[in-house]
């Protein structure tokens, strides 16, 4: 194969446009749009990402004509990262993994009554990111091989460390609280089989039987979506329920809709460009995975723009940044998939399975022999992005009306949806139980300003850091590592990221000391929470001590660091008078408000359907919950409650049918054989 610049450009363009013609003519366009529509729906439902969506399509793909099959799969994969913004902005729940960071500023914007603006700015950024990815894919697919191979385990380790280093820029007012949260995330990430020694860790097997369901569940590790949903959505919903208002604090939404979003997008074009670039480059490298790209670009946006004080409180640039990168990464992730048959993301992994079913085997020979199919994939990516963005922009305004409805009426639907999304992670009772634990923890983390983002980043990168640290030490000596240029550049980038993090925290320091939320803080609950965290770190150190060296070194180090940080916070709390930032307690902001509901009552509402399902099974319990909640707590009419609960039942039954999915049974089902779908 000749190098790119010698390659006959004419032939390339001819193939490129021939591929476009195949895509937009005949049945493939129909399948492309079908894929786009399914992708939009899959993206909107929290817990369903491209991975789940594509695996739904696989049975239908088998036996299809290759171009149509590719069009359908690409249509789906390309738009999931676009439509997953809806729940992220409207209700603060990421629709899929790639919308985690969008929640940070998108949801506060919705609270300000600017949901439509946030959504359309996100969609335009996402569209641009998607197209950027497609263009990049076209340009570099033939020359990408050395680039990808230049990223060894040392470079991947540094990328993961760079990912962790952005914690500083995203954390709250206390750096140590942020670090404790990051350590906790890494400890949660350690649960399951250790990468280096293949031992089971932190699964309670030291105190329980190995065949106990809890141990079996934890042996598989805790799923990303379980953590992502419970850590972000749970506290937000509890808070909204307590105040008994609509999401939007303004009754009237702002008039200007998508046009304002477009303007935001245009005036931040360089940010969009930079973040799209970050997204596709990190997507290009298999092994780091897509889950931390959003955080990296969010942090990039925060550190590189002027006047970043409003980040986290509703700055449109906090939406634009991560949305540009979350969609551009698919183009990047396709490159190693097509070139080596080594997928760069969860979605592309399943895409590859689908391509094999179609008789198209991605791999090194594909670039030489089936370039036309590669262009088909690229065009599908581009065309699908355009369709997806148009549909989403058109829906942004009407759907954002949802934010004006009183939240108590929306709550039972959302709670059902979230419990369902969590359960879908590995389809096990354990998903629901551990999500509840993490959710309650998150409520207190939010209250005392322990950064939840830091926990998420720690969790996402835990495995990469441990694996690559261990492998790098085996593959390289120090002197070999420090002559690798990309490795050195990444060290500089991480150092710069840590430096800007410290700068941001210092700036916050000056503001934070005068804030009212630290006045009158009660210190008792803070101490209880801190001691709980401290016990977790001690527990981690103790129960991993019996493992092999390679299995225990990482969790023990993280545990000891966490212990150290906890002690530092303890000392700070001990020596400082109440009123300092270490005593941050969001509860105080709510003290004046008498209409507020109690925290534990709302948490109880959240988990009551789970208690109910222990007895009568998940399926029946959800419908009953919707009915009881609507008629007793939201106090809407009997008819509305009844119709709603039947609607939820029908929706769940059809999902169960199409997705070949059983809901967790209760005690009742253990005694009596019941027909589908109640069984």
């Amino acid at each position: 194969m000749p190098p790119f610049f010698l390659y006959d450009i004419n032939i390339m363009f001819e193939a490129l446009f021939a591929a476009l013609a195949t895509i937009v003519s005949g049945p493939s366009l129909f399948f492309l749009i079908l894929g786009v529509l399914i992708g939009l729906v899959v993206g909107v439902i929290p817990g369903f990402g491209g991975t789940v969506g594509l695996s739904l399509l696989l049975p239908f793909v088998f036996g299809m004509e290759p171009v149509s099959g590719i069009a359908m799969m690409m249509g789906l994969l390309s738009v999931v990262a676009t439509s997953d913004t809806f729940p992220a902005v409207l209700i603060g729940v990421p629709g899929s993994v790639s919308a985690q960071a969008t929640v940070m500023d998108g949801f506060p914007l919705a609270k300000k009554g600017q949901a439509a603006r946030a959504l359309s700015a996100a969609f335009f950024s996402s569209l641009f990111g998607g197209l950027f990815g497609a263009v990049l894919l076209t340009m570099v697919i033939q020359i990408a091989k050395p680039i990808i191979l230049a990223f060894g385990t040392g470079e991947m380790l540094m990328l993961a460390i760079f990912g962790i280093s952005v914690v500083g820029t995203l954390t709250g007012s206390s750096i140590f609280k942020g670090l404790v949260a990051a350590c906790l995330g890494m400890i949660i990430g350690c649960i399951g089989i250790s990468p280096a020694s293949s031992e089971y860790r932190l699964d309670f097997s030291t105190i329980l039987e190995v065949q106990n369901p809890v141990v079996m569940y934890l042996g598989g590790g805790i799923h990303l979506m379980v953590v992502a949903i419970s850590i972000f959505a749970f506290p937000e919903i509890v808070e909204l329920l307590r105040s008994n208002k609509a999401v939007s604090e303004k009754a009237e939404l702002e008039k200007s809709g998508w046009f304002k979003g477009l303007r935001d997008f245009l005036s931040n074009k360089f940010l969009v460009l930079r973040c799209s670039f970050i997204g596709s480059v990190i997507g290009l490298i298999p092994g780091i995975g897509g889950s931390c790209i959003d955080w990296i670009s969010y942090s990039h946006a925060k550190t590189t723009v002027k006047n970043n004080e409003n980040f986290g409180k509703g700055d449109i640039r906090g939406v634009i940044g991560p949305e540009s990168s979350s969609n551009s990464k698919e183009g990047g992730a396709l490159i190693p998939t097509l070139l080596f048959g080594i997928p760069g993301s969860g979605g592309t992994a399943i895409l590859m399975g689908g391509l094999i079913l179609l008789g198209v085997d991605p791999g090194i020979t594909m670039v030489d022999t089936q370039l036309d199919l590669i262009y088909t994939i690229i065009w599908s990516l581009a065309v699908a992005n355009i369709f997806g963005a148009i549909i989403c922009v058109a829906m942004a305004k009407p759907i954002s009306q949802l934010t004006t409805i009183n939240f108590t009426i929306l709550a039972p639907f959302l709670i059902s949806l979230i419990l369902f999304a969590i359960f879908n992670s590995t389809r096990s009772w354990g998903d629901l139980i551990f999500a509840t634990f993490i959710g309650v923890l998150a409520v207190y983390m939010k209250r005392f300003d322990y950064s939840r983002v830091a926990l998420m980043i720690g969790f996402v990168l835990s495995d990469s850091i441990e694996t690559y640290l261990y492998q790098t030490m085996q593959f390289y000596t120090f002197s070999e590592l420090f002559i690798r240029p990309i490795f050195l550049v990444l060290i500089l980038v991480s150092a710069f990221s840590i430096y800007s993090g410290i700068k941001i925290i210092n700036k916050k320091d000056k503001i934070a000391n005068t804030k009212s939320d630290v006045l009158n803080a009660k210190s008792r609950p803070q101490w209880v929470f801190l001691i709980l965290l401290l016990l977790i770190s001690v527990y981690t150190v103790f129960v991993t001590d019996h493992l092999q060296y390679l299995g225990k070194i990482f969790p023990i180090s993280v545990g000891l660091f966490m212990l150290l940080f906890c002690i530092i916070i303890g000392i700070q709390m001990f020596v400082s008078k109440s009123g300092l930032k270490v005593f941050h307690d969001a509860e105080n902001l709510l003290l004046g408000n008498t209409e507020i509901r109690s925290q534990w009552l709302t948490i109880f509402w959240f988990i009551s359907p789970l208690f109910l399902s222990v007895f009568i099974g998940f399926y029946m319990s959800i419908g009953l919950f919707v009915f009881i909640f609507l008629s007793k707590i939201a106090r809407v009419s009997f008819r509305f409650s009844l119709i709603s609960s039947i609607g939820v039942w029908i929706a769940l039954a059809s999902i169960s049918h199409f997705m070949i999915m059983d809901f967790p049974p209760g005690i009742l089902q253990g005694y009596i054989e019941l027909p589908w779908p109640i069984n």
């Binding site: 594509l54 696989l58 049975p59 088998f62 990468p195 020694s197 598989g220 590859m352 085996q474 593959f475």
Partner: protein, 353 residues
């Protein structure tokens, strides 16, 4: 005479009811796959699913259900808990080497037992070991000293996974390979050797043909041996790669020992579980005889269906698809049982280093 006629009548009556009993028309049969969608076992299941649908009595819809609760072991345990006593064959179980290996290594989490299963269909594969060109090894037997003295690094998923086969093989040949753990699957192992971080690797046949052979043609990688294929009771050269020696052959040539004894027996057991007959469709033993029969007949019909076989061959390489009660039973026994001496050896081998 009357007795005879009665017997024939009774028998024919019986067979009629039996034929009536197994009819899946209008029904949905589930293939329980303890792996996530899009992976090797899932693709395999989705390839044979429609073939079973076409060949089972009544042409039921065959759907694949990916169960990932508790990973492969947990999901396999769950199948046994929920369907271990089924009689009607409505939910069949699809396994792979990753389910067989923990069973052989007696992982304490395993609650499934292959002794309580009836095999319906089995697919095998093979594996090819290759090195980077720079090593200068072209024939592992002739260049063995060079191979042995090279810097040998192998990227592995873990010692009790399918990688037990290569790691034990290296140990038996007496070569000192630096095994680096933590690879997420064979794809990651391949990526590492492409980057030059590892120097020796193996891929299953299908993956080798697709991803490594082009590199061999370009002169970047060199294949040195295969794990072999079962011929009769022995492990012989892999018919897909007649020019490459199989591991037992290499072992005998480089060590001067016969391929016998506990080590060789243990390796062979692992080879059968992980490669020779790697993927099984199975029913619980409680299934009715005619149900088992109907499934086994369907499996035999699939092997005669060129379209279905084309997909399978592409996925797994051209290997025997085992059907027929007798052949399956002996294959499953080889893939899942191990004599006590070898078991003891493997248990202590697992814990070294």
């Amino acid at each position: 005479m009357l007795k005879k006629i009665l017997a024939v009548l009774a028998a024919s009556l019986f067979s009629v009811t039996a034929a009536l009993a197994v009819d899946y028309s209008g029904k949905t049969v589930t293939m329980w796959i303890p792996f996530k969608a899009g992976g090797g076992s899932d693709t395999w299941a989705r390839a044979i699913g429609p073939a079973f649908s076409a060949n089972l009595p009544g042409n039921p819809t065959v759907v694949v259900k990916n169960v990932t609760d508790g990973k492969a072991i947990g999901a396999s345990n769950k199948y046994f808990a929920e369907h271990g006593k089924d009689k009607d064959g409505m939910v069949v179980f699809g396994t792979s080497g990753s389910v067989q290996m923990p069973f052989i290594f007696k992982d304490e989490r395993v609650r499934y037992n292959y002794k309580n299963m009836v095999p319906i269909f089995a697919s095998g594969t093979g594996g090819v070991v290759y090195v980077r060109k720079e090593m200068g090894v072209t024939d592992i037997i002739k260049d063995f000293d060079k191979f042995k003295s090279s810097k040998l690094v192998y990227g592995s998923q873990g010692k009790t996974s399918l990688d037990a086969v290569p790691i034990l093989a290296f140990d038996m040949m007496g070569v000192d390979v630096n095994v680096v753990y933590g690879m997420k699957g064979r794809k990651a192992g391949r990526a590492a050797i492409l980057r030059g971080e590892t120097t020796v690797d193996y891929q299953t046949t299908a993956s080798y043909l697709k991803h490594v052979r082009p590199l061999v043609e370009k002169g970047e990688m060199v294949p040195i041996m295969t794990w072999g294929a079962p011929v009769g009771g022995k492990v012989e050269r892999d018919p897909n790669f007649p020019d490459l020696p199989a591991f037992p052959e290499v072992y005998e040539a480089v060590t001067g020992n016969k391929f016998k004894g506990t080590e060789a027996k243990s390796w062979t057991a692992l080879f059968y579980a992980g490669f020779a007959t790697q993927k099984y469709v199975m029913l619980p033993k409680s299934a009715k005889k005619d149900v088992v029969k109907a499934w086994q007949n369907a499996a035999a019909a699939i092997v005669n269906d060129p379209a279905a076989m084309k997909v399978l061959n592409k996925k797994l390489g051209k290997y025997d698809q085992v059907t027929g009660s007798k052949a399956l039973k002996s294959a499953l026994k080889k893939a899942t049982s191990i004599d006590s001496k070898s078991e003891k050896f493997l248990q202590s081998w697992k814990d070294t280093k």
